[in-house]
């Protein structure tokens, strides 16, 4: 009796009556939240007909951190730190978006040196994030060595970040008003070394994957996302560009000095996994170009706004200057009060359009901080992509839209 019950509850979860008395049975599997390739704690409820996906339903919220709400309880100065934790593979990109939003609220402009440094760091961060994406998405398709090669190069970038801020990942190095500290001596040389090394390594990845027949078979024409659907669903970043829409915030709504640099936007045509892959691969090239230009034009001078109400005074002054001590105390206890108003600032994070919507009521804390997270919007395209695909394609699709669950659930 019990055996029979088992037999029916296990293999068949749903069935459909076809004409002619035939019956089609479906199987439901839960992919995630604990699954090797859902890139965190994404849960997908898949209805399968054999290995073909009939229906897919993403279920998010397993990494809910309440970052938006937390920010409302912190001064602007301190809320910066929680933004690091959203897209934890690209903390500096989050810092940049947040800082730009707060600066817009305050109505301040950062000095040139900070502008250039931010561009360099943001592009390095883009490469680092893309490297994690490349490694993990290749790993999802079974190419395990690429993963470790990518992390080898990412290590160099993280070392540069550590050199700047003392922290490898959650740097909070870009802050409203400029940078936490000046770029350290040796920074330029380290970045130049990386610029010299990385194209060769990038070439190796191309050699391993781009024309690899198995890789092409696994990605070309798989999980297509038509351009109209991509736009309709609010996809941005490489997910959108892979479908053939040339939209990059750095070009469309230039911010933070990007209009000064010469770079191109890779755009796909088919909207399949392969095009998204190539778009990101080529983006890394373009990032290198931007870094090169920014590094060549990196000016000297101050790296923070000259306003002790917004940036903390140097430590040595705190112990010798009464004014500085007061500023220091006020900044860390109370913070600054931007005028009431609301701003929306969009940046091109490695994942797509990262928007910060900040509302100030004139107090020292944000009344509301809403984050338009690219991963969240891009994830919506997943059920559409994998409709009718195979189970094996699901991991390819998840890899190709490059989600970070910390950002989806923020």
């Amino acid at each position: 009796m019990q055996t029979e019950e088992r037999a029916t509850t296990l293999e068949v979860d749903e069935s459909e009556q076809l004409e002619g008395g035939a019956r089609r049975d479906y199987m439901t599997i839960n992919m995630g939240p604990q699954h090797p390739s859902t890139h965190g704690v994404l849960r997908l409820i898949l209805t399968l007909d054999g290995e073909t996906i009939v229906k897919a339903q993403p279920d998010i919220g397993y990494l809910h951190t309440g970052i938006e709400k937390t920010a409302e309880g912190k001064s602007y100065f301190k809320a910066l730190v929680v933004t690091d934790r959203m897209d934890y593979l690209a903390p500096l990109a989050n810092n940049l978006g947040y800082s730009l939003a707060v600066e817009k609220l305050l109505g301040i402009e950062v000095p040139e040196r900070a502008l250039y440094a931010r561009v360099i760091l943001a592009e390095l961060q883009r490469i680092a994030s893309h490297l994690v994406w490349l490694g993990t998405s290749a790993l999802d398709l079974g190419a395990q060595s690429v993963f470790l090669y990518c992390f080898r190069e990412r290590e160099i970038i993280l070392d540069i970040f550590e050199l700047c801020s003392g922290v490898r990942m959650m740097t909070s190095y870009i802050m409203p008003g400029g940078l936490q500290a000046d770029l350290p001596p040796g920074f330029e040389q380290r970045v130049r070394d990386f610029l010299a090394l990385f194209p060769k390594r990038l070439r190796e990845y191309h050699d391993l994957l781009t024309n690899n027949r198995l890789w092409v078979d696994r990605t070309k024409g798989i999980c297509k996302l038509p351009a109209e659907d991509a736009v309709r669903l609010g996809c941005t970043g490489a997910t959108l560009r892979g479908s053939g829409v040339a939209y990059d915030v750095r070009k469309a709504f230039p911010y933070g000095g990007y209009e000064r640099f010469d770079f191109d936007i890779p755009v796909g045509a088919n909207g399949d996994v392969y095009d998204r892959y190539l778009v990101r691969m080529l983006e890394m090239d373009q990032s290198l170009r931007i870094i090169q230009q920014a590094l060549d034009g990196l000016p000297g001078g101050p790296w923070q706004v000259d306003d002790p109400k917004i940036v903390p005074p140097p430590k040595y002054m705190v112990s010798s200057n009464m004014e500085a001590l007061i500023h220091h105390f006020k900044l860390y206890t109370e913070g600054y009060r931007p005028p009431a108003g609301e701003v929306y600032v969009r940046t091109e994070s490695p994942k797509g359009e990262l928007g910060f919507y900040m509302v100030s009521d004139g107090s020292a804390r944000p009344y509301r901080m809403h984050v338009r997270a690219p991963s969240f919007a891009n994830l919506q395209a997943l059920p559409l992509m994998i409709q009718g695909a195979f189970v094996a394609d699901v991991v390819a699709a998840i890899g190709s839209i490059d989600i970070v669950l910390g950002e989806v659930d923020r």
Binding site: T28, V245, A246
Partner: protein, 418 residues
């Protein structure tokens, strides 16, 4: 004691040695694989337990032995417990006909013959091997099905389809060799190679390539490791197995690798022979080991390099590429043997077919990725036509947001390309 008793003793002793050796090789094969893959990936690999990590297999074994062996509530207990055993059993007995050296020459009595360096010289050795390796699928299918887990079930089904498909190609690929040698006995095939003065790889290059691909699929190794594709199916049919049962499956996989490598070495590379050097006492075993070790290394190498193929593509390769090619090879070899053509006739034919296939595949890849790059600066690399670089003039008005060059809704065509 009678002759029969001595023969039984010999068989038992040799089986015991073979099983012990296989299990040891399995243990060290895991270590070698981890170390070698680590080198490929610029890591160090396990090197803590003992010098060079040589005690690592022992540590792993201990860990596995003391792990809790979970049986899921939804599992069918008896089958769940039995299926790993089936896998290992089948893997072990398949090795029985692999010759590690020549028949004994120090006597013609049944007892003397019984101590030859192989457990049995069946006159249907190759057939036996094929039959036994077909049974291996039962261990996996039953294990996956009885786990009561969807992932396991999917893995098991994949495995069943995969093994059945590739079994056919293996059989047909080997048939070419059998025609040349005129015997099914593994020892006989090596003797035939010595008698004809060639290794059969020279006469049957196409069959060897087909066998190599099909055998990789047969033993579920990368890039054909779909049944246990960890990124898709968690661990496939292995998902619910833990402790010793899990390691039994691993054991079966590695022993199967050794077995298919042995078949390749025996049928295509002259088994224990090496141009007369097998006459030195003790050396046949060394040559055999070296040959098998090279194949095992290639298994690891491939695993470190290639991405995994998809299930339907795997089927396509099996039925639409390997099968027709192996039939072509079979027909031509049959003709060559029937008409008494020399060995290089089928050898050249095989090489020709391989060349044609390679050219076709290469051209197809080129065609698919016909390059037309608009902006030739960044990477000097051939890129597919589908992705291009778009040059957008930087917007002049920023901040206010009216500097939209490519509105989100604009399709790609409206964007100016350089």
């Amino acid at each position: 004691m009678s002759d029969v008793a001595w023969i039984v003793v010999a068989a038992v002793v040799k089986s015991a040695i073979a099983i012990g050796a296989l299990l040891t090789i399995f243990a060290y094969m895991t270590l070698v694989e981890r170390r070698v893959i680590a080198r490929f990936q610029r890591r160090v690999g396990p090197n803590r337990a003992g010098p060079l990590g040589l005690l690592q297999p022992l540590a792993d074994g201990m860990k596995m032995a003391f792990k809790e062996q979970i049986i899921p509530t939804k599992a069918r207990r008896l089958i769940f417990v039995l299926s790993p055993a089936i896998s290992v059993f089948v893997a072990l007995i398949a090795f029985a006909v692999v010759p590690l050296g020549n028949t004994t020459t120090w006597g013609t009595s049944p007892v003397a013959i019984a101590w030859a360096p192989f457990i049995a010289d069946l006159n249907v050795g190759v057939l036996y091997m094929l039959a036994i390796s077909s049974l291996a699928v039962y261990g996996i299918v039953l294990g996956g099905w009885s786990s009561g887990n969807h992932y396991s079930l999917l893995g098991a089904l994949r495995s069943a389809a995969q093994m059945v498909s590739y079994e056919v190609s293996i059989g047909l690929a080997l048939a070419g060799v059998l025609m040349l040698s005129g015997t099914l006995s593994m020892v006989g095939i090596v003797h035939a190679q010595v008698a004809q003065g060639i290794w059969f790889i020279l006469a049957q290059p196409l069959a060897f390539v087909l066998y190599a691909i099909a055998a990789t699929a047969e033993v579920n190794r990368a890039p054909f490791d779909l049944p246990e594709a960890e990124q898709e199916l968690v661990a496939g049919y292995l998902t619910e197995f833990s402790g010793l049962r899990w390691s039994l499956y691993q054991m079966a996989e590695y022993i199967n690798m050794i077995t298919v490598s042995s078949i390749a070495a025996t049928l295509f590379f002259g088994g224990w022979t090496l141009g007369g050097l097998e006459g030195i006492p003790g050396m046949p075993f060394v040559w055999y080991t070296i040959k098998v070790a090279i194949f095992l290394f290639i298994f690891i190498w491939v695993r470190a390099t290639l991405p995994r193929i998809r299930y339907d593509q795997l089927m396509k390769v099996g039925w639409q590429a390997l099968l027709p090619l192996s039939i072509i090879n079979l027909v031509f070899t049959g003709l060559a043997v029937a008409l008494g053509w020399p060995w290089w006739a089928s050898g050249l034919f095989g090489l020709g077919v391989l060349l044609i296939v390679a050219v076709v595949l290469y051209n197809r890849l080129r065609l698919r990725q016909a390059m037309e790059r608009q902006s030739g600066e960044a990477v000097p690399l051939a890129l597919p036509s589908s992705v291009r670089l778009v040059r957008i003039a930087p917007a002049t008005a920023s901040e206010s947001g009216d500097g939209v060059v490519a509105a989100p809704a604009a399709p790609a065509e409206s964007v100016t390309t350089s």
